[in-house]
């Protein structure tokens, strides 16, 4: 869209099409470096980074000195499985559970441990074997159950961590803990930290995008709280932008009826020209930022509809993601969208899929849960690999904790078999940028109850994720209420054993 009134003012030109950072970088306003440094520090923007990942993308924002070292991954797609997938039915094969099926939990496995009120005391609970059989998959021989045939087919691409453990036993605190390092709302989530630290690779889309979905007809009552993608005490521009599952993916993206694109452009030209007059009169650099942000708003009005226009996707690609892929709001659609987002420079894509809370539906809803997520997840990894994006994109699949190896419900009522929340051992998989392929890391004990070898605490996992993105988790901090906060609180150790 050509602008009709090129004013010969270098300040204005700078302000119009470039970001605030670049704008200041030119020092054309007479704003000196000291003022600049303060203003940028305040907004969490830093001096221009010379990092250019390739010819077409350049970094917008981010902190000076980041990444701390050469990153293995440049972007993240987190396929978050809300509700906690059952590790002993999907990834963590325990023949011993078959042997002891129906027997009481040995006391020394659960002594002193806290469970949700639904379980109360674990004493006398009956062990429950895996619902579907497991098989070794691919050359790596990783165990994956028949619940997930598509995931099984890409096992050699994946790195399974089977010794995860966490601290909370309820969903919201545990999800918050995994995504922000703290159980209570109020801390920045991973995507916010990365947007803050590394900036964005695009100026026409947000750097942190969230999409949610839920398995149809689930009885699960989970809710997506916006603090799952919050920026906590970081400036709110770093919070995840939730793309909606129906209607326009971004609120207020569409011009009011009667305002055509050319008219909108003209009106924005006027806004810019009038703001430029204001900038000259008052000298407040915030005005220049505003001009730049209105321009990005205009670009988003085109870039977001382009993003969701699937006409350029081949039939075979669409087929790979499965039958739901054309249906906005499904996990399959969101997976495809995740690939399109990272292709366009988005730093952190967080898909959240709810329904994994099988308190009484291991033999019923778990099947539809897996059907809805298995094929698209595997397709995404394949698709990224085929496009050469998997090398520097990190894909993570997992929930907030695991599920009890013992039964919730009545052993004689197979239709209502369930498992309760279980923080002491669970599994997730990750793939791509900088991770070992075809690896199964860590072990739980013979009942899948507690971690037995190479424990990976949530903070360790977070430290490792940051490490893969070239960040020392102890040095990405933000001062709030007099304390330097970080994603990993005061803990966390990089899990060297999973790095390629």
């Amino acid at each position: 869209m050509k602008r009709p009134h090129p004013l010969p003012d270098p300040i204005i030109d700078a302000a119009r099409h470039v970001t605030r950072r670049e704008f200041f970088g030119r020092s054309a306003t007479g704003i000196g470096t000291a003022a600049l440094a303060t203003l940028l520090a305040r907004d969490g923007l830093a001096a221009p980074s010379s990092t250019r990942s390739n010819a077409t993308s350049s970094r917008v924002g981010g902190l000076e000195g980041l990444p701390h070292f050469a990153p293995r991954a440049k972007r993240v797609i987190y396929l978050f499985q809300n509700g906690a997938p059952t590790h002993v039915d999907l990834f963590d094969y325990k023949p011993r559970l078959r042997e002891l099926h129906g027997k009481e939990v040995p006391e020394d496995y659960v002594a002193g441990k806290r469970f949700s009120t639904m379980t109360g005391s674990p004493k006398g609970k009956l062990l429950l074997q895996n619902v579907e059989p497991f098989h070794r998959r691919g050359q790596s021989g990783a165990w994956v159950s028949d619940f997930l045939p598509h995931t099984a087919s890409i096992a050699d691409e994946l790195c399974f961590i089977k010794s995860m453990h966490t601290e909370a036993v309820n969903h919201a605190p545990a999800i918050s803990f995994l995504l922000s390092g703290g159980e209570l709302p109020g801390r920045p989530t991973m995507g916010a930290w990365l947007s803050y630290g590394l900036g964005s690779e695009t100026d026409s889309l947000p750097s942190f995008v969230v999409m949610t979905s839920v398995t149809r007809n689930t009885t699960c009552g989970q809710i997506f709280y916006d603090f799952y993608w919050g920026s906590g005490f970081l400036p709110s521009r770093f919070q995840g932008v939730k793309f909606r599952g129906s209607g326009s993916p971004v609120l207020y993206l569409e011009d009011p009826t009667g305002v055509s694109r050319p008219v909108r452009r003209q009106l924005l030209d006027d806004v810019a020209r009038l703001n430029e007059i204001k900038l000259r009169d008052f000298g407040d650099p915030e005005i220049a930022t505003r001009i730049a942000q209105y321009e990005m708003a205009f670009r988003m009005q085109s870039s977001v509809p382009e993003l969701t226009d699937l006409s350029s996707e081949s039939a075979s690609t669409l087929e790979m993601y499965g039958p739901d892929v054309r249906q906005p709001g499904t996990f399959a659609y969101n997976c495809l969208m995740a690939r399109r987002l990272v292709e366009r420079g988005v730093r952190f894509v967080q898909l959240m899929h709810a329904g994994w809370d099988q308190h009484n539906s291991l033999t019923t809803e778990l099947y539809s849960q897996c059907r809805d997520t298995d094929q698209p997840s595997a397709a995404l990894v394949r698709d990224l690999k085929a496009r050469g994006l998997l090398d520097d994109t990190l894909v993570i699949w997992g929930g907030e904790f695991g599920r009890t190896p013992f039964l919730q419900g009545n052993m004689n009522d197979r239709k209502r078999w369930g498992r309760d929340h279980h923080p002491y051992a669970f599994s997730l998989w990750a793939a791509g940028g900088g991770l070992e392929r075809g690896l199964s890391y860590g072990e739980s004990d013979d009942l899948g109850m507690n971690v037995a070898r190479d424990p990976v605490h949530v903070h360790d996992f977070q430290a490792t994720l940051l490490h893969l993105l070239g960040i020392d988790h102890e040095r990405l901090t933000y001062r709030f209420q007099g304390r330097d906060f970080r994603l990993t609180d005061v803990h966390g150790k990089v899990v060297e054993g999973i790095l390629a």
Binding site: G221, S236, L267, D270, E286, R290, A297
Partner: protein
């Protein structure tokens, strides 16, 4: 050493915070921040984290001989101080902070520490904990500028640092600034013109008094208080059930409007229920404490919830009144402030006495008060009276008609009833008439319907009145309030904050590093509240005036409004902060008076224009050499759009409303469990304060607002494309643009395009447009009028946007063009900004 001193002086000359003269390092301003961020983690207040037995947070300990025989700090002798040897060493095994801590000292920081030790290593008590003492107004050279005490402090610092204050802002801008700051809505052009034309002395002060008397004042001030009180219209968490705390919100508005002193405002909200013969209003005020989220997630342990709620009350009180980050002490002694874990649970003990049990997710968890509106209260009283009258009528009938029939309960003993009365009916009749419920009355009615029609009629009338009364009572909003149980609940320190890991028992007490509670005060919530507003308390008044200052200048004198501890920022004008605190307290905690003091100062009235040189020197305007300029809160941007278009319905109070929100925002967040049902008519145009606040998904129109999850006393202010999309395209804003266009056109029939544009511009920005601004807007109006003449459908779509009736016009193209121009005006940086 001399070059270091010179270097340090240069550094300090460049710093903005702090009023004192540059020179030797000042402990509070220069040294404590370094020790705090780089040393105290291992050598501070927290005994468990302390390494090598060394603590540097107290002079006595820091200058004592260590086990090793060395002395960490030798006052006046840097070279003999172990600290200096350690921080300057090249040997990684010796150097402090150790490399693995990743807390390296900068060259400047090392030099500050060395110079401080050289100059005698004096420690100060933390400024915020020092008692408030009378402050003399500083001397200034430019005697004509100051209008009140505020200006003396501000000017003294400006003169010291070689700056001049800015000129006063133009009257147009000033009047808009004042209205937006005090009322959250702009003046009408008539109000503005009246002030602009008033050239008599005292015009500004008269305007200030008029504005302070507006009921919109309370609505504006309530917003920030609601954010601090984490107010919402639902519980939060899974289920997110609706609650009816809004009568408490209306109380806050009213308290501001009638100027309830801040000490009463404090005591009533924390402990109004415990005042002698507490009034309804005083009990209602304690709803403040109960605004926390309630977790109704299945499987949650009730005691864990209950402890969470008490922690929330404790921490909210700590932040709002003491400016202290108590939450750090849930699990351990504070790393930086002299707060111990014991202090946390001692404060917690004050709030640990409510009967709330943490179970379920009932948003009306007792204790509650019923909070009828005035109309409801009158109706209720009328119904109570009506019930009493009808009871009497029934009694009278029973004494006459029934006695004759022998069915009356008072029948003479030994006589046989003429008619056999069923046992059930007899039992009912044996009870006094006033004690019979609707079901019983119904049975009597049925029994006597045919035999005693007149009596049955009276019964029916009584029953229906009771049902109406009870129905009304059930519909009354119930507000969760505070109450203490008779039997005190024991309070224990909780290991790492876990409800099920109780340790040592503690009793209710205030933090030991603050002045203690006088003996005369009870050791309960009331005593705590009274201690907060007692003259000995150094924090409450400072913290309060700082938040008030923040409302007018965008940033507090202490930037970290939530943290007055050692890690918080030192005040930019410490003398001014204390002077204001004393003004507030000395005036009987008169909040309106303090606001008046601020807005009548010359400091407040300065122009917000900034030169490149001043921007370079003071980008954040901490010196106050210019007026503040910052983006309006998003809620005020909406209120402004409604007000300027004339859509705003300025009715105070009442249940929350449901204005425009795009389809699906709630159902997306709740899997369809919660559906947003938009209101119609007037409720679309109430002030933002009344918009229903669903805690798990805040109204989509507002940005940069407190999440209402936990106490927030400082709002963020960001600048993103999503905000631009909101004000460009949201239904509220676009409807306001087209209604503004209609309004202006109707006011000026037959006007030129230029007149229309100027009128619309002035409605929003008060000032007239400059020539170049006018040319751009008039040019656009004319061009778009041609465009819409060729696109009549587009014009008609614009003119019918929103729920307001479409205008009747014979010039739709011009009106649509003007609406588009108004959309531009409502999106100008100046419109979005208070300057």
């Amino acid at each position: 050493m001399r070059s270091w001193v010179l270097f340090i002086c240069l550094c300090l000359a460049g710093t903005v915070a702090g009023e004192s003269r540059p020179g030797a390092p000042d402990f509070t301003r220069d040294v404590r921040p370094i020790l705090g961020s780089k040393c105290f983690r291992c050598h501070g207040h927290d005994a468990r984290a302390r390494q090598s037995g060394l603590r540097l947070d107290e002079r006595e300990a820091a200058t004592a001989t260590l086990r090793s025989g060395r002395v960490a700090i030798v006052p006046g002798d840097a070279s003999a101080s172990e600290v200096v040897r350690r921080i300057t060493s090249d040997d990684e095994d010796v150097r402090m902070p150790p490399p693995e801590s990743k807390l390296a000292l900068s060259e400047r920081e090392r030099k500050v520490l060395v110079e401080w030790i050289e100059s005698g290593a004096e420690y100060d008590r933390h400024w915020a904990f020092e008692p408030l003492r009378a402050v003399a107004l500083p001397e200034v050279r430019r005697l004509t500028w100051p209008r009140n005490g505020i200006d003396r402090f501000v000017l003294a610092r400006l003169e010291r640092e070689g700056h001049e204050p800015s000129r006063p802002a133009e009257r147009h801008r000033l009047v808009r600034r004042l209205y937006l700051d005090l009322l959250g809505v702009p003046p009408s052009p008539a109000e503005a013109d009246a002030f602009i034309a008033d050239r008599d002395p005292g015009a500004w002060e008269r305007l200030v008094d008029r504005v302070l008397a507006s009921p919109a004042f309370g609505e504006r001030m309530a917003w920030d208080w609601l954010a601090a009180a984490r107010y919402a219209d639902s519980n939060g968490y899974q289920g997110d059930r609706e609650r009816t705390m809004w009568p408490w919100r209306d109380w806050v508005v009213d308290a501001f409007n009638r100027g309830l002193p801040y000490d009463d405002f404090t005591v009533w909200q924390l402990a109004g229920d415990m005042l002698p013969e507490a009034t309804f209003e005083q009990r209602l005020a304690t709803g403040f404490c109960r605004n926390h989220p309630i977790n109704g997630e299945g499987g949650r342990i009730p005691e864990e919830n209950r402890v969470d709620y008490v922690m929330d009350m404790t921490e909210t009180t700590g932040t709002v009144w003491l400016g202290l980050t108590m939450n750090c002490c849930r699990c351990h002694d504070h790393k930086y402030d002299r707060l111990k874990q014991r202090d946390y649970y001692s404060l917690f003990a004050f709030f640990n006495q409510t009967p709330v049990d943490g179970g379920g997710g009932d948003p009306q968890t007792p204790p509650v008060v019923e909070a009828p509106t005035d109309e409801q209260r009158e109706e209720l009283e009328r119904l109570w009276r009506a019930v009493a009258e009808r009871v009497e009528a029934v009694v009278a009938a029973e004494q006459t008609a029934l006695a004759r029939a022998g069915d009356a309960p008072g029948e003479p003993e030994g006589e046989t009833p003429a008619v056999e009365t069923p046992e059930e009916i007899r039992k009912i009749l044996e009870r006094p008439a006033r004690d019979r419920g609707p079901k019983e009355l119904k049975k009597l009615e049925e029994h006597f319907g045919s035999s005693q029609p007149e009596y049955a009629g009276r019964l029916r009338s009584l029953r229906e009145t009771i049902e109406r009364r009870d129905g009304l009572r059930r519909s009354l909003p119930r507000v969760m309030v505070m109450e203490d149980m008779e039997k005190r609940r024991s309070t224990f320190m909780l290991a790492v904050g876990l409800y099920n890991k109780p340790g040592e028992e503690v009793s209710a007490a205030v933090p030991v590093s603050l002045p203690g509670m006088p003996e005369s005060l009870p050791r309960n919530r009331l005593g705590l509240a009274q201690w907060l507003v007692a003259a000995e308390n150094p924090l409450t008044a400072r913290v309060a005036v700082n938040r008030m200052w923040q409302q007018f200048f965008g940033v507090g004198l202490v930037k970290t409004a939530e943290d007055f501890g050692v890690q918080g920022e030192a005040p930019s004008h410490p003398g001014l902060l204390d002077w204001l605190a004393l003004e507030l307290r000395g005036s009987g905690w008169d909040v309106k008076r303090l606001f008046r003091l601020i807005v009548t100062s010359a400091t407040y009235r300065q122009s917000s224009r900034v030169s490149p040189a001043l921007l370079e020197r003071d980008p954040d305007n901490r010196l106050l050499a210019r007026g503040a300029r910052f983006r309006l809160p998003s809620w005020a941007i909406r209120d402004q759009a409604l007000a300027t278009s004339g859509l705003l319905v300025a009715r105070l109070g009442g249940p929350p409303v449901f204005p425009y929100q795009p389809e699906g925002v709630w159902s997306d967040a709740t899997f369809g469990k919660k559906k947003y049902r938009r209101d119609e008519g007037e409720k679309l145009y109430r002030r933002s304060l009344y918009t229903f606040w669903r805690r798990i998904v805040a109204p989509s129109l507002f940005f940069d607002v407190a999440s209402r999850q936990t106490c927030t006393v400082r709002e963020s202010r960001t600048n993103t494309p999503l905000h631009a999309l909101t004000t460009l395209n949201d239904a509220t804003f676009f409807e306001a643009a087209r209604v503004l266009a209609t309004r202006v056109s109707e006011e000026l029939p037959g006007a030129t395009g230029r007149d229309l544009v100027v009128r619309a511009f002035r409605r929003v920005l008060i000032r007239p447009p400059r020539d170049d601004e006018e040319r751009i807007l008039v040019g656009r109006l004319e061009a778009l009028e041609r465009h819409f003449a060729a696109e009549p459908q587009a014009a008609s779509a614009i003119l019918s946007s929103g729920a307001a009736p479409a205008p009747e016009t014979d010039a739709p193209a011009r009106l649509a063009a003007l609406a588009a121009v108004c959309n531009v005006i409502l999106n100008l940086d100046e419109t979005l900004t208070r300057e």
